[in-house]
């Protein structure tokens, strides 16, 4: 299946692009996609634990199942985003 992956902030800057289409195995979860991305670039490994993911503009957990044509946003820590 095909995903539209969006990058922002430090991730966008490190990758040098705002997004890309990524081909992923059917039935893949958000965690599977993150594993795939981490194999491609260190920024995802470094950001593990702080990067959040939104699918179709909603925050989701790692076990969220992805579907063809999903818009997947990689959300590094936000401007005011200290957990409290």
């Amino acid at each position: 299946m095909k995903l539209r992956v969006l990058y922002f902030g430090i991730v966008r800057e490190r990758l040098g692009r705002r997004g890309e289409e990524i081909e992923c195995a059917a039935g893949a979860s958000v965690a599977d996609l993150m594993t795939l991305l981490a194999q491609r670039n260190d920024i995802f490994a470094l950001g593990a634990g702080t990067i959040r993911v939104a699918v179709n503009r909603e925050y989701v957990d790692g076990d969220h199942g992805l579907a063809d044509d999903d818009e997947v946003a990689i959300i590094p820590p936000v401007a005011g985003g200290r957990k409290r």
Partner: protein, 175 residues
């Protein structure tokens, strides 16, 4: 009104939008860009948003506030791009029949926004630049909170110095 804008924010316009004969109070919050952060002299601040989702999160925050307080209207606007020092990067206006509700809900809205809104801030300071809160920004910072336990980026075990694009030994004494 819930929006991401590239132009200066008009709090007056926001107040007009939430104003109503049903309201007895309008509480407003403006977040403005500060010239210093953690002892660094800030040259400029640059904001980036995931606009569609940010607006959706603003709407959710307002809807949640409405379940907790008796409100008339809520408006939330965040500016993106370079925001000159001293200008508003975010504005919230909440109207309600009574002032307590308006003030409490306004406070709730800005705190919620800071946690969930997909908006990023890059600080350009003397000697470098950093994405606030991010990987290389060792202070894990909510930059406008006081009383942090750590003031030095290397206080954190296993520091991220190798990842830092900025000089980690920036003087902290100006704080």
């Amino acid at each position: 009104m819930f929006a991401i804008v590239e132009q200066p924010i008009s709090i007056q316009q926001l107040c007009e939008q939430v104003g109503s004969p049903a309201a007895g109070a309008i509480a407003t919050f403006l977040g403005t860009t500060r010239q210093s952060n953690r002892g660094r002299r800030v040259l400029k601040l640059e904001y980036e948003a995931y606009p569609e989702m940010a607006v959706s999160e603003f709407e959710k925050i307002a809807a949640l506030a409405r379940t907790r307080w008796d409100l008339t209207a809520v408006a939330i606007v965040h500016r993106v791009g370079v925001v000159p020092l001293g200008q508003a990067s975010v504005a919230i206006a909440v109207s309600a029949p009574h002032r307590r509700e308006a003030i409490e809900a306004c406070h709730f809205c800005i705190d919620s926004l800071k946690e969930v809104a997909p908006i990023w801030k890059k600080e350009h300071f003397e000697g470098g630049e950093v994405w606030i809160g991010s990987l290389a920004d060792c202070d894990h910072g909510d930059d406008d909170s006081a009383g942090r336990a750590h003031h030095h980026p290397h206080d954190h075990a296993g520091g991220h110095a190798a990842d830092a694009p900025v000089d980690p030994a920036q003087p902290r004494s100006r704080r």
